[in-house]
């Protein structure tokens, strides 16, 4: 970890001082030890603020949209999942890859402070380090060895791309973690197994928690419209009233808008202040796509068109009840 930090600082310092970039986006430490926040660096002296630890879960890619309005060339630290988002931003013409230097950071999985908190490990946390499958945690009470997997974010447990899929420079060429090859979609299956009443009840409860803060949308690297349909009352599609049907409308349409484009980074659920299971909607669509149209590959190739703007003559047809026409 320390090694990585010094690599990060070195490359940021070099590129800023040689004017290769005029801005660096990376992680800095927050108020608490379990917080890592995005930081934006133009001055060489700020380079020292860069950190890398087990809480750098934030997907920084979307900050590029705004930063590129004011800076010519930006260096950015991206993990595997972030790099998928980056590719989508490129695909949606939101980011010109020529103006970005991606420092690829292989990731070994991030730790969910909530999971630590549940085990009462958060309060006195002093230091956290990962050694392969083990988590070394130092609290006031002393050092303790835990199983890392028990404390990782759910999304990290299913990580398919621990290494960045696109980068200008890779800070560490070793893969730190094996990727999961086949997704089991077990949490989606569990909802599918319910009957429709139970499903509706489940989702109604989820959606009714929504306070329409739009954090899920704002963090999402594929929700990159200049003017979101939900911010455009003039268009007459949706209102802002706090009623169940509006909340349901918002969540269904949000999920549909990222269908085939969602990179499954899980940020939407992570940032949701009401802990709505937003990713279970996204992952349902990903599951369907995987089963019907083959391997899901959003974010892997910015030049390949996504599932919904593509078709095959022989696509599965769930609707055909009788042959007709030709």
């Amino acid at each position: 970890m320390e090694e990585m930090i010094s690599k990060m600082k070195k490359i940021a310092y070099e590129d800023l001082s040689t004017k290769k970039v005029d801005r660096v986006i990376g992680f800095g430490k927050g108020d608490f030890i379990y917080e890592a926040n995005p930081i934006f660096i133009s001055n060489l002296e700020e380079v020292d603020l860069l950190v890398w630890d087990l809480f750098c879960v934030n997907n920084l890619s979307k900050y590029l949209i705004n930063e590129l309005k004011n800076y010519q060339k930006i260096g950015i630290f991206l993990k595997g999942c972030d790099s998928l988002g980056f590719n989508q931003l490129v695909k949606d013409n939101k980011v010109d890859p020529d103006n970005v230097i991606v420092y690829g950071v292989p990731c070994e999985g991030m730790i969910d402070p909530n999971k630590l908190s549940k085990k009462n490990l958060l309060k006195d946390l002093r230091y956290l380090r990962r050694v392969d499958e083990k988590l070394i945690i130092v609290t006031k009470q002393g050092e303790k060895e835990l199983i890392a997997k028990d404390y990782e974010y759910d999304k990290c447990l299913k990580c398919k791309h621990p290494n960045p899929v696109v980068y200008s420079e890779l800070l560490e060429s070793n893969t730190l973690r094996n990727s999961i090859l086949t997704d089991d979609f077990e949490e989606v299956d569990r909802i599918e197994d319910m009957n429709s009443e139970e499903r509706y009840e489940y989702w109604s409860e989820q959606f009714s928690k929504c306070i329409r803060c739009y954090a899920c949308r704002n963090i999402c690297p594929v929700c990159s419209c200049d003017k979101c349909i939900f911010d455009n009352l003039d268009i007459g599609v949706s209102g802002k009233a706090k009623v169940d049907s509006e909340d349901q409308f918002f969540h269904i349409v949000r999920a549909y808008h990222v269908a085939g484009r969602c990179v499954d980074c899980g940020e939407c659920s992570r940032v949701c202040p009401e802990s709505i299971a937003i990713d279970k909607l996204n992952r349902k669509i990903i599951k369907d796509i995987t089963e019907i149209y083959g391997e899901y590959d959003a974010g892997l190739n910015p030049s390949k068109s996504s599932v919904l703007v593509n078709y095959k003559l022989e696509d599965f047809d769930p609707f055909e009840t009788s042959k007709g026409g030709k």
């Binding site: 939101k94 419209c225 007459g236 703007v309």
Partner: protein, 661 residues
């Protein structure tokens, strides 16, 4: 506030018997924006239309709803009437209370209630309608024909005779296509060359026809009336204008190892060659892959012997960019590769040949000068076996599911040609079904059996065993159940026809679709058989599906007349219900460009001022001339920036709301 007039039609008793039209008119009057609501027996009649026109003028109506029959019947009628009264025709909406209401429901109360709902939806929609003005496009008075076989030649001649310029693109060095290879044509057995070559000459001499042989379509852009096509003229290495066609270069060329495409590989040709003696243009071409000069730098004999100084080794591919109003695709077909049919020993034994090879062997201008000889030993065969349906009607990956259509007839023709020249040769034909619909076709095939003594056996051959200098053919007569074994000397396989390998690629360039077998898809299988879904692009011949010569020629003339109809117009009127981009909302993701079947959406960069700063922004842009108004783009657009005029998001939502009232 809108001033909407609602007119409820009785359609005699067609509507009025099931729908209480008075009640509908009464309810409509209460709807928001409606200033006039009335009913009449026959709105489409002269009197009804006058009623509408007068009301528009008198009541200063700015929008009209007619509750009547299906818009597919009389929308045009009422729009015209409104236009005559000075109202933009797109401010008229139809509520379909006949086909969708009075004719399908029995209960009067329910039908009336539904009619009111349908009128409410139409009123809600028309409130949001806007004046639409169709655009006009000019037409380039020139046609392009892709493919110079009999289909292309016929099309070009017809269009040229109508007085329009035509360019023909042919991939090979000569026009003529498959028909030039054929010996005789069924069902009349007249010589193919005798009827084709005069047409080839006509095409080359016609003042309105330009031939681009040894050329291919590289790129197509534009739209109906205004296509822009880039043609790649491959380097011929012979200057057409200088060549006198004397043929000395060919005679002296030392390279003789390349199989002749025209002779179906039965003999070799030189590196500099004309495909066949009657080729048009009668100018040789150098096959650079085979030419010694191009491979080693040494040789150049052709150049030395050419007194016309027509040989040019330095010639390069040239690009021609030309505008066309109409395009006819006539790229023809091929036979499938028989490598997968190992049981028939094609490729393994030289005496197993395809039907097209047989055409060459029996052709007086062919490699054997028309004598029927076995390729293995140049001897006359005693027994010839024809196998039909090799790869046709075949559901496996080896073949094609369709019937190739021409094989039954040409096999009967082949059998007869043998019997006529050599009555002593035994001829057997294995078939699954004999299919001979067509004028004088069945009579023709029966003649082969009844007069010429050709032995037709129902059943496919299981295997052809090469056995010494014989071919042992194992079959079964499906009718009698007898197993059959024939010691044949020559086996002719009627290989299935297939679409050209590059059909899909060409289809993509032209934005026309191909079916599962890669044949081009016609706009409607019955009523628009020579049109494609892309306006201004037509189909002729076997590129659309297997066809014989008479059908091909008929379709070629049909395609020509469609092209002529288009070219004869002075301008085209656009459908104004096209997509439109709100640049302030468009986020430039360009997903919409991916799904447009007409490539009507492109990207552009706009500049605008924001807080005193000029900002560049990538957005989508619709070419209204290309857009056909399907609206598919509107759904890909997440922020709702692209919308469809006449069927806008707001209009449809208003209809939904009104129906749920």
């Amino acid at each position: 506030m809108a001033r909407i007039g609602v007119f409820v039609c009785w359609c005699g008793s067609n509507i009025a018997a099931t729908v209480d039209v008075k009640e509908v008119a009464k309810e409509a009057a209460k709807m928001s924006g409606v200033v006039l609501s009335t009913d009449y027996q026959y709105m489409c009649s002269e009197i009804g239309q006058n009623l509408l026109r007068n009301a528009i003028k008198k009541e200063k109506l700015d929008r009209v709803v007619v509750a009547a029959c299906s818009p597919r019947m009389h929308e045009v009628t009422f729009r015209k009437a409104a236009e005559l009264a000075g109202l933009n025709p797109y401010l008229v909406e139809i509520a379909n209370i006949r086909e969708h209401c009075s004719w399908v429901h029995k209960n009067k109360d329910e039908a009336t209630e539904k009619a009111i709902a349908l009128v409410r939806a139409a009123v809600a929609k028309v409130t949001l309608n806007q004046e639409l003005i169709p655009g006009e496009i000019g037409i380039e008075k020139r046609a392009l024909v892709i493919g110079g076989g009999i289909a292309g030649i016929q099309t070009a001649l017809d269009i040229a005779d109508a007085g329009y310029m035509v360019d023909v693109i042919e991939k090979t060095p000569s026009i003529g296509g498959k028909m030039a290879q054929i010996d005789k044509t069924f069902p009349t057995l007249d010589c193919s060359a005798c009827i084709l070559t005069p047409k080839m000459v006509d095409a080359s001499m016609h003042p309105n026809i330009n031939l681009h042989t040894y050329s291919e379509v590289e790129k197509v852009s534009g739209y109906v009336g205004n296509f822009e096509v880039t043609i790649n003229k491959k380097a011929r290495s012979v200057i057409i204008e200088k060549c006198s066609g004397c043929g000395v270069c060919i005679e002296k060329c030392p390279s003789r190892k390349t199989k002749s495409e025209f002779e179906e590989g039965l003999v070799n040709r030189k590196a500099i060659y004309t495909p066949f003696p009657q080729a048009v243009p009668n100018v040789p071409v150098i096959d650079r892959e085979a030419c010694i000069k191009f491979k080693t730098g040494k040789c150049g004999i052709c150049k030395k012997v050419c007194t016309a100084e027509a040989i040019d080794f330095e010639q390069e591919d040239t690009k021609i960019i030309q505008k066309y109003g109409a395009i006819v695709v006539s790229t023809g077909y091929d036979l499938i590769d028989l490598a997968k049919f190992g049981e028939y020993a094609y490729g393994e034994d030289p005496d197993v040949i395809t039907s097209l090879e047989f055409e060459r062997i029996t052709n007086a201008a062919g490699p054997t000068a028309g004598k029927l000889l076995r390729p293995s030993n140049n001897e006359k065969p005693e027994k010839v076996v024809f196998i039909q349906c090799v790869g046709s009607r075949d559901k496996t990956c080896r073949g094609k599911t369709y019937c190739s259509k021409i094989c039954c007839m040409y096999t009967a023709k082949h059998a007869m040609l043998i019997k006529e020249k050599y009555p002593d040769i035994e001829v057997h034909v294995f078939y699954i079904d004999v299919r001979t619909p067509g004028k004088n076709f069945d009579e023709f095939q029966r003649r082969a059996v009844e007069e010429y003594g050709v032995n037709y056996i129902k059943g496919m051959v299981g295997k052809v065993f090469p056995d010494g200098d014989k071919l042992r053919v194992y079959g079964v007569d499906a009718l009698s159940g007898d197993t059959i074994e024939i010691d044949a000397d020559l086996v002719v396989l009627a290989a299935a026809t297939k679409a050209k390998e590059d059909a899909e690629e060409l289809g993509r360039k032209l934005s026309i679709s191909t079916d599962t077998n890669n044949f081009f898809t016609e706009a409607h299988p019955k009523l628009r058989p020579v049109e494609t879904h892309s306006a201004g692009i037509y189909l002729a011949g076997a590129c659309q599906g297997p066809k014989d010569i008479p059908e091909t020629v008929a379709q070629a003339s049909a395609a020509a007349s469609k092209a002529i109809i288009l070219l004869s117009k002075s301008k085209l009127i656009n459908n104004p219900c096209v997509a439109k981009v709100d640049e302030t909302i468009c986020c430039g993701c360009l997903e919409c460009t991916n799904i447009c079947p007409y490539e009507a959406i492109a990207s552009t960069i706009i500049e605008y001022r924001d807080h005193g700063k000029m900002i560049k922004k990538l957005v989508s842009e619709v070419n209204e001339a290309l857009c056909q108004g399907c609206g598919g783009c509107t759904v890909t657009c997440r922020p709702g920036a692209i919308d469809l005029k006449g069927f806008s998001n707001k209009q449809i939502l208003a209809e939904v709301d009104a129906l749920c009232f």
